[in-house]
Symmetry: C2
Subunit: 239 residues, 2 copies
DNA sequence: GAGATGCTTCGGCTACGGTCGAAGTATGGA
DNA sequence: TCCATACTTCGACCGTAGCCGAAGCATCTC
């Protein structure tokens, strides 16, 4: 039959454990060197080199040479979205890792999804913004309201700048740990960046998880309060 | 590192050409027997049986025994969404099939995406519905308007029934051939079903493509006119 | 009951892809 | 200039996953 585009190629690309680990690590948004990615994949540098060549040829990765290092990033936001959506799917089918591990809770609480905040805190933030009327949620789509535009200006985010770029302002991104949406798009990116700028939170060295400082956490929770009522209509039953 | 759910498993599942072909065929929405799927995959029945067992174990497929046949369907709408999104991604990276083939144009014009209409005609339908104000497009989300509810009642679609089900009414689904959204969800399903009921169109035997009758095509195009102005803001530039 | 059809299981073959050691190339620093 | 570091290429090894022929169940038809 052979209809349509070839999904087997990218499936196979993602289907190798070492490559999958590399891709998952790169979903953290940071550029990583071949050596770092080899460690992530649990393989030697030679093998990693071969894998990276394949991922690059497949259009999933973008290399950037800098001195004697080669830094790799996901080629595109669409790659990140694909990986995240596959994680969501895998989680829904129970394809979890064997070892929950000590890092797991931190990851579920707050982590980076390419360039924006995900996990419990990411979902909470979006919920709160919707409850405040800063963002409109229609179906599975998100849109900034006029009120929201004001709000973000006050926090110190220049919405006009964001609007100028071609990238969509708001995008919903399905969270694999919470199975609910969090905020992606250039606004999601700007918000996370501002948390880092303010010193509320920082990324961790070898992981996707985001660590809040005690003070940062207090401020974050105050800025994005949870209203119990909200959950009623946003709740999505787990299948 | 091993963070998060295991995407390698489902990647590998989709990564085999024979399995990928089977999954793509099942995205046509019809239940297919093991023998039919073997033909689709270009392999013998024994091999297909092994593949199907793996896909079933992975939670991608749902078997249904009927007489001496075993019919397989995609386990879930989420599987169909995953496959379609991978197709979209593959298409965007140029991972196309070698042979464009004679069926390709028909497929691009109108095809089934799990249970709703995709392709040029699918995109056109959504564009037209948005232009008419029957559906609200906010960001990448869709919502039925009050006016739309009336409209669909007139066409003979019982919106109240659809609302009763847990499945979302409107969902946007990215079209791999058009790289724009078309209408999924229970409303998308109901619309396609009504086209079949009215005899405007029919499915083809071994393919996902949808064939309109001359009269059906005329009616469809009249019902969903294109207004040039609409395209301006819906257009998404190809990267 | 006999035969045909649909599908699964078993066993063995094969090939491809992942793996690493060793050697080769580029870049940076002393 | 010389060495260390970062990475790639080459070559060889090996395991696994895909593949099919043959045989074994199950179900329908006559």
């Amino acid at each position: 039959m052979k209809e349509g585009p070839d999904i087997a190629q990218i499936g196979a690309l993602i289907g190798d454990p070492a490559r999958a680990n590399m891709l998952a690590a790169l979903t953290g948004g940071k550029a990583l060197t071949a050596t770092e990615l080899a460690a992530v994949g649990g393989i030697t540098l030679q093998t990693a080199s071969a894998h990276l060549a394949k991922l690059e040829a497949g259009g999933l990765l973008l290399p950037r040479k800098q001195g004697r290092h080669r830094y790799f990033t996901l080629a595109d936001e669409t790659v990140a979205r694909l990986i995240e959506s596959m994680m969501g799917f895998a989680a829904s089918r129970g394809h979890l890792r064997h070892q929950p591990g000590p890092k797991e809770p931190a990851l579920r609480k707050a982590r980076i999804c390419y360039d924006h905040l995900a996990g419990d805190y990411g979902v909470r933030m979006l919920d709160s913004l919707v409850a405040k009327g800063a963002i409109d949620a229609v179906g599975d789509g998100l849109a900034l309201t006029a009120k929201g535009e004001e709000t973000f200006q006050c926090i110190g985010i220049n919405v006009a700048d964001l609007k100028a770029s071609r990238r969509p302002l708001c995008r919903s991104c399905l969270d694999w740990s919470e199975r609910r949406a969090h905020l992606a798009g250039s606004l999601g990116k700007a918000l996370l960046a501002s948390f880092f700028d303010k010193g509320w939170a920082r990324r961790t060295a070898g992981s996707r998880s985001v660590i809040f400082s005690p003070d940062g956490e207090r401020q974050f929770l105050a800025l994005f309060p949870v209203e119990a009522l909200v959950f009623a209509h946003v709740f999505v039953p787990k299948p």
